[in-house]
């Protein structure tokens, strides 16, 4: 249970970094890439996949 909480906190942290990255990247391609990379992290965070 503790491991799961730590795991989800790490996921949340990486997800927030990715959202930050979407706004901070300089090219549109990298902004879109960061947004798409967010999908598996969010699905995992919500324990869907």
């Amino acid at each position: 249970m503790i491991l799961k909480i730590i795991y989800q906190l790490i996921l949340l942290f990486i997800s927030l970094l990715l959202v930050y990255d979407v706004f901070k990247e300089k090219t549109r391609m990298l902004q879109l890439t960061a947004a798409l990379a967010l999908i598996p992290f969010i699905l995992r965070l919500l324990m869907i996949k």
Binding site: L3, K4, Y7, V19, V22, F23, R28, Q31, L32, A34, A35, L36, L38, I39, I42, L43, L46, M47, I48, K49
Partner: protein, 375 residues
């Protein structure tokens, strides 16, 4: 409006919206995989219980599943049929569904757990490219059946250890085998989800005084233990006689002894922890194998694969394989024939615990009518 379009945040926001749409579609697909397809039990059904009755620690988890009870009302023994230990082995769970939807009983009881590892039905094995469903055009229209994974969903049991230490033997296996139901027997009430499911099944066998217990599987055609009846010491007599009788009918099965020192397997631990006669059945399914080509519904249903045809020509397979493949229909027919023959043989040896299951077609009749006529 122009200012808005030039705003540097517009594209990032649009990107997040695109990701949200794709994520929502993906999430819906994954959540849909958790929805159980309805089964339609035969009129012989007496009751449905949850597996958590036999281990309350399963209550409310994705490991809890239905146990179907068919009681003839007449004296006799009890048979358990387990499908879906590995939900990526469809002949196993389709045979359980077939008994569930078609059986009639005149002596004894029949218990069926069609989705033994219910959590493993809720996802697919990564990197395998296998379909989420198989579709049968049945007598009442098209029906979809979930095609799942060999092991419990990591959403329900995580993380895997580096090395899986089997309880109670201490045997070492690869870490992900910790989510394999057929490496988790006899289980314990408070362990991981898979171990709790295993414990519930063993407890059910003991509580319900199950005389004969079947665990239905499939394996790759290049795997040595295939088209096989795996029997523990207690089951050897009935299994060998049944195998001979099946051979007389042109249905070849090899008889494999349950290994003494490989722990966690259903037949091994049911032998050691219960009084039942344990039997595991294997058929050959190309979708299980490493040599296969495209892994789609057609491969599962027709069992036809060019690569396996080539492997057969090279003598690399343990089963006959020709251009007709090994269709699901034939794999289920083999399981059905073996289950019926073993029940009949057990009943002959133990008339006081005889079990008579009717309404299930014989091998030839089943192949003639087709799988679709029973669903």
């Amino acid at each position: 409006m122009t200012n808005l379009l030039k705003n540097k945040n517009i594209f990032p926001i649009l990107s997040l919206l695109v990701a949200a749409v794709i994520g929502t579609i993906a999430a819906n697909q994954f959540l849909f995989m958790r929805k159980e397809q309805p089964l339609h039990p035969s009129p012989a059904l007496s009751k449905i219980e949850k597996l958590s009755v036999y281990n309350p620690n399963l209550t409310g988890t994705h490991g809890d599943t239905d146990v179907y009870f068919f009681d003839s009302g007449n004296p006799g023994g009890t048979v358990l049929i387990l499908g879906g230990t590995h939900p990526n082995e469809p002949a196993g769970f389709m045979t359980a569904y077939l008994f569930l939807e078609n059986c009639e009983l005149s002596a004894g009881r029949l218990l069926i757990i069609p989705r033994a590892n219910a959590s493993a039905f809720t996802h697919n094995d990564p990197m395998e490219g296998q379909p989420q469903f198989i579709t049968i055009d049945g007598k009442n229209g098209k029906r979809q059946f979930r095609f799942g994974s060999r092991i419990t969903n990591p959403i329900d049991q995580w993380p895997d250890p580096e090395i899986y230490l089997h309880y109670p033997s201490g045997q070492k296996l690869a870490g992900n085998e910790t989510r394999n139901l057929n490496r988790s027997y006899p289980g314990k009430p408070n362990g991981s989800l898979t171990v709790r499911v295993a414990y519930a099944i063993v407890n059910l066998i003991n509580t319900e005084h199950v005389d004969v217990a079947f665990d239905l599987h499939e394996a790759a055609p290049e795997y040595p233990v295939v088209n096989a009846i795996v029997a523990s010491e207690r089951s050897q007599d009935i299994a060998s006689e049944a195998a001979m009788m099946l051979e007389f009918e042109g249905i070849r099965y090899s008889l494999e002894p349950s290994p003494y020192n490989f722990h966690g397997l259903s037949h091994r631990e049911w032998q050691d922890e219960t009084r039942t006669f344990p039997i595991l059945l294997e058929t050959a399914n190309p979708v299980q194998g490493r040599l296969r080509g495209r892994s789609d519904e057609a491969l599962i249903i027709t069992g036809k694969d060019k690569m396996y045809l080539r492997a057969a020509a090279l003598g690399e397979l343990h089963v006959p394989f020709d251009e007709n493949g090994i269709p699901l229909e034939m794999r289920v027919a083999r399981h059905v024939a073996a289950v019926q023959k073993i029940i009949a043989t057990f009943s002959e040896y133990h008339p006081e615990s005889a079990i008579e299951v009717n309404g299930i077609p014989a091998y030839e009749e089943f192949l003639e009518n087709g799988l679709q006529n029973y669903f």
